[in-house]
């Protein structure tokens, strides 16, 4: 089942920026790129738990604010030499609103 939740307006997030959504499983970071694509990934860096939502967003990547690991926003994979991955969630933008696909969030909390 797909469970789309309207979480905010596109303009609530600055371009090349991010904000978080609180869930029972911790924060999910919602990113908006320079060209208005929206991505959602786990906010917690697998290296030493840096908040990815506070990183610098460039292209479709984010750089962790603590030690500069770079993550691909679509796959959640760490880039370059670093090895790690964060969970990703589907999003879509409809009429200026951001929708987050939350079935996995709910499923994980139920388990």
């Amino acid at each position: 089942m797909r469970n789309w939740i309207d979480i905010a307006g596109l303009n609530d997030i600055p371009k090349r920026g991010a904000r978080v959504v609180k869930t029972t499983l911790g924060c999910v970071a919602i990113f908006r790129t320079d060209d208005d694509k929206v991505y959602a990934i786990d906010d917690t860096c697998p290296h030493k738990k840096g908040p990815l939502s506070e990183g610098i967003v460039h292209g479709a990547s984010v750089t962790c604010p603590l030690h500069n690991w770079v993550f691909d926003l679509e796959t959640g994979m760490a880039q370059g030499e670093d090895v790690g991955q964060v969970a990703t969630f589907d999003t879509q933008v409809l009429n200026g609103r951001i929708l987050l696909e939350a079935s996995r969030l709910a499923a994980r909390s139920a388990a």
Binding site: R16, T23, T33, D34, K48, K49, E54, I56, D72, S109
Partner: protein, 814 residues
């Protein structure tokens, strides 16, 4: 009996529909065509050239009276349909009712009037039909007329360029950050803006219109920020809205447009819709190509042939004479997508191709669109381009493999571009000297003095040598800032200055960036260079700053922050201490620490508490200590003559004065100062970026100290007699550092690179230069000497920045 087909709207879509229909089955229907405009169909697209005076109305008529007569169409032009009665299958106009068997709605769109006061004043026009154009041409008759165009999209820019051709003084107001934001990326938008400005059109992006002013006629447009633009004519080109009123009233299914299926059928089995008023598969269209496809499908549907409309890829070209621009498909960035970017700053060319799985999914081209149709064809066919990937961006004519010239940027600079800022040497002078035999760096230094001073332009001088001499000169490898560019920090600073580059897209274009929006290494550096060079013009970009500077607090390893209020010169009061203690209690601060910079740090604060804590501290008169910034941190002082028996001068007072002058300024790296009241040096001034030691006869100023990973003692800069001079020297030194150092070089590193003598010449010996440096510093401080806490503790900021976007914990718990 032949069926009666009634069509509402004599525009481009219905025009094409009739052509297709008569081609397939000339006698299938008895056609009646209603049109609100008092004329038949014409090529609406060509209204721009008509407005520009390049064409006249007769040139653009597509269907004239003869054509309608020959095909037996009953024309009811100048007669708007007011109502559709679906039950009785009638359309109603002012002249009465007409019955139909099948109905086609082809009402197009209407200009969107932005909802501000005064949008209905005479002199405010849309840009949709011939009457609008006639009204605009009328307004352009008046000598020295001013036009304001609201909207910097396709329509608005065509109107602006045309009105400019007609001799009007034109200003474009665009809401978004760059022109044609729906079709272009920021880099191409920037080039377009430059071209329009070169023609004398004023362009304001991020422009929020508040109201249109005037009594019986427009005379100005008022912006949210209070700016007023005088206007005799206001063109509303901020978008179009599908014209769906009739369909709505008739109870058809309407979303943004009239909803149709693949056969163009609406929710009523006898009513079809075609053109811009239609919504198909959640998409509405604003360009003719897909509408013509619809017209073809509808003609087939009407005579019972099976056909289905498939959403096509649409491309955009701006029809402004002399502007080459092309955009198609999806040009957003994304992982799994690869982009190929080509920039030729010299010729003002930008091309970008976006690939996914080795197939073209989008392209943007500016300045040279010769290959656009070739690329568009490849996009539509979806063919695998792996074989020609490397040369794709150079077009079909490309032979094989010749890489672009990395020196193109330099070669393209005009002769009067300043290369060496210290000695004011322009490119032309260097080229001349090379011609006279100065063929290496040393010879050039000796003959022209280029790069003979601070040396930061060495890279550029070498590139001038290389571009002038060709292969005979080999550039020593220099370290570029990052993988996004070949430029070094020094090259970049010089380009920003000499080419007056004032925005990030401008720098990235002119300096040949290879990525579309940089990376975490170059963006913070660029942001600093731009704000240091153009304090008044450049708007600081929070998204290009590291987290600490964006959130005005130091992030700790567990994601909490530390908050540290300023204590001027290390002085505080019981009231301040109480306020700090109260804040520590109220927000449950786990640790309170006295720092080495003579102030108090509150550690372990949660992000959402930051603005509230700041507001409390502001309330008690305290401001941010910038303990997180590449900027002025602290000015440590000792108690000096106030209390110490050894004190020679008021070291505390001087420290406070300096801190009040310098706070808020951004610098390449952090800056720490200290002032000691005598050579016993209790404030440890000799390991600071600037240290002042008071003596009986005045003030000894030394610079370039550090006590971090490297330990360095300061070196003497000068000794001066008065406090005023001590302040001026300090400010001038810091400004010189701001203007010349590489981002993230501490002052001592920079001094080691340029040499202390070079610094002394400017700051100590040359009094005029010293004064100019102080003046430039003050200019910058007029923008940046402010408390970020006060600014960000406001309710608006709290909502938009500090809180979570949404809280799903409640829902998920159900």
């Amino acid at each position: 009996m032949t069926q009666k087909l009634v069509i509402i709207g004599a525009g481009m879509a219905s025009g094409r529909l009739l052509e297709e229909l008569f081609e397939l089955a000339p006698d299938a229907y008895d056609v009646t065509l209603f049109g609100a405009e008092p004329r038949g169909n014409y090529n609406r697209i060509m209204l721009s050239p008509v407005l520009a005076g390049e064409k006249c109305y007769d040139d653009i008529v597509t269907h004239d009276a003869d054509w309608y007569r020959e095909h037996g169409v009953t024309c009811r032009f100048g007669e708007a349909v007011d109502k559709i009665d679906r039950a009785q299958k009638l359309v109603i106009t002012a002249n009465g009712a007409t019955s139909y068997d099948k109905l086609v709605i082809a009402t197009g769109s209407a200009s969107f009037l932005i909802p501000v006061a005064g949008n209905d004043l005479p002199g405010v026009v849309g840009f949709r039909d011939l009457d609008d154009v006639t009204a605009m041409l009328q307004a352009a008759q008046a000598p020295a007329g001013k036009a304001v165009v609201i909207g910097g999209g396709l329509l608005g820019l065509e109107a602006a360029a045309a009105l400019n051709e007609q001799g009007m003084d034109v200003t474009v107001l665009h809401l978004m950050g760059h022109l044609m934001d729906r079709q272009l990326d920021p880099a191409a938008g920037y080039l377009l803006q430059q071209e329009l400005q070169r023609r004398g059109i004023k362009v304001n992006c991020k422009a929020h219109t508040k109201a249109i002013l005037g009594k019986d006629q427009v005379d100005a447009v008022l912006m949210e920020d209070g700016t007023v633009h005088g206007a005799d004519l206001v063109v509303m080109a901020a978008g179009i809205r599908p014209e769906v009123r009739l369909a709505n009233d008739a109870g058809l299914h309407v979303e943004r447009g009239i909803v149709v299926d693949d056969t163009l059928l609406t929710s009523d089995p006898d009513v079809f819709a075609v053109g811009e008023c239609v919504e198909h598969d959640r998409t509405v269209y604003g360009l003719v190509a897909p509408l013509f496809d619809m017209a073809k499908v509808l003609a087939q549907t009407l005579i019972g042939q099976p056909a289905g409309f498939v959403a096509p890829a649409v491309s955009t070209k701006l029809k402004v004479t002399g502007v080459d621009l092309f955009s198609v498909g999806d040009f957003a960035e994304g992982p799994e997508r690869e982009e190929i970017v080509f920039r030729d700053p010299g010729r003002g060319i930008y091309k970008r191709i976006i690939l996914r799985d080795n197939r073209i999914i989008g392209t943007v081209m500016y300045g040279d669109t010769a290959d656009s149709s070739w690329l568009f064809a490849k996009l539509k066919s979806g063919e695998d381009i792996s074989d020609i990937r490397d040369t794709l961006i150079f077009g079909p004519a490309f032979p094989a493999g010749a890489p672009t010239d990395p020196l193109a940027t330099i070669a393209a600079l005009p002769d009067d571009a300043e290369i060496c800022g210290c000695n004011g040497i322009c490119k032309g002078a260097i080229v001349t000297a090379i011609g006279k035999g100065a063929t290496d760096l040393a010879a050039l230094k000796a003959t022209t003095k280029a790069s003979a001073s601070c040396g930061s332009c060495t890279g550029l001088v070498e590139q001038v040598l290389a571009s002038t001499l060709g292969d005979t000169f080999v550039i020593p490898a220099a370290q570029p800032i990052c993988g996004c560019t070949d430029m070094t920090h020094e090259d970049l600073r010089r380009m920003i200055k000499s080419q007056s580059l004032k925005t990030m897209p401008a720098v990235m274009q002119e300096c040949g960036w290879k990525t579309s929006c940089g990376c975490h290494t170059c963006r913070p550096a660029l942001n600093y260079y731009l704000l240091a060079e153009w304090p008044l013009d450049y708007a600081d970009d929070a998204q290009s700053r590291f987290v600490n500077e964006r959130n005005h607090a130091n992030i700790q390893k567990d994601g909490t922050y530390s908050v540290l209020p300023r204590m001027w010169g290390g002085m505080t009061t019981p009231d301040e201490l109480r306020a700090i203690a109260d804040a520590a209690d109220k927000y449950d601060v786990p640790a309170v620490k006295v720092t080495g910079g003579q102030r108090i740090d509150l550690l372990g604060v949660k992000k959402q508490d930051l603005p509230h804590m700041w507001a409390d501290l502001n309330e008690a008169g305290m401001v941010s200590g910038h303990a997180y910034s590449k900027g002025l941190r602290t000015v440590k002082t000792c108690v000096g003559t106030d209390f110490c028996r050894f004190g020679t001068q008021d070291s505390t007072g001087l420290g406070i004065k300096l801190e009040k002058l310098l706070w808020g300024s951004w610098t390449p790296h952090k800056v720490k100062l200290a002032v000691s009241g005598c050579p016993r040096n209790c404030a440890e001034a000799t390991c600071k970026d600037v240290g002042i030691i008071c003596v009986d006869s005045g003030f000894e100023i030394s610079v370039g100290g550090a006590a971090g990973m490297e330990l360095k003692e300061t070196e003497a800069l000068a000794k001066v007699a008065t406090e005023q001079e001590a302040i001026e020297l300090t400010v001038a030194f810091i400004q010189l550092y701001r203007e010349h150092a590489r981002y993230l070089d501490r002052a001592y590193k920079w001094v080691a690179k340029v040499g202390l003598d070079w610094v002394k010449e400017r700051v100590v010996e040359d009094l005029a230069e010293r004064a100019a440096l102080c003046e430039r510093f003050e200019l910058s401080q007029s923008v940046y000497r402010k408390d970020p806490w006060a600014e960000q503790a406001t309710p608006a900021f709290q909502r938009d920045k500090w809180s979570a976007l949404a809280d799903l914990t409640l829902e998920a718990a159900e």
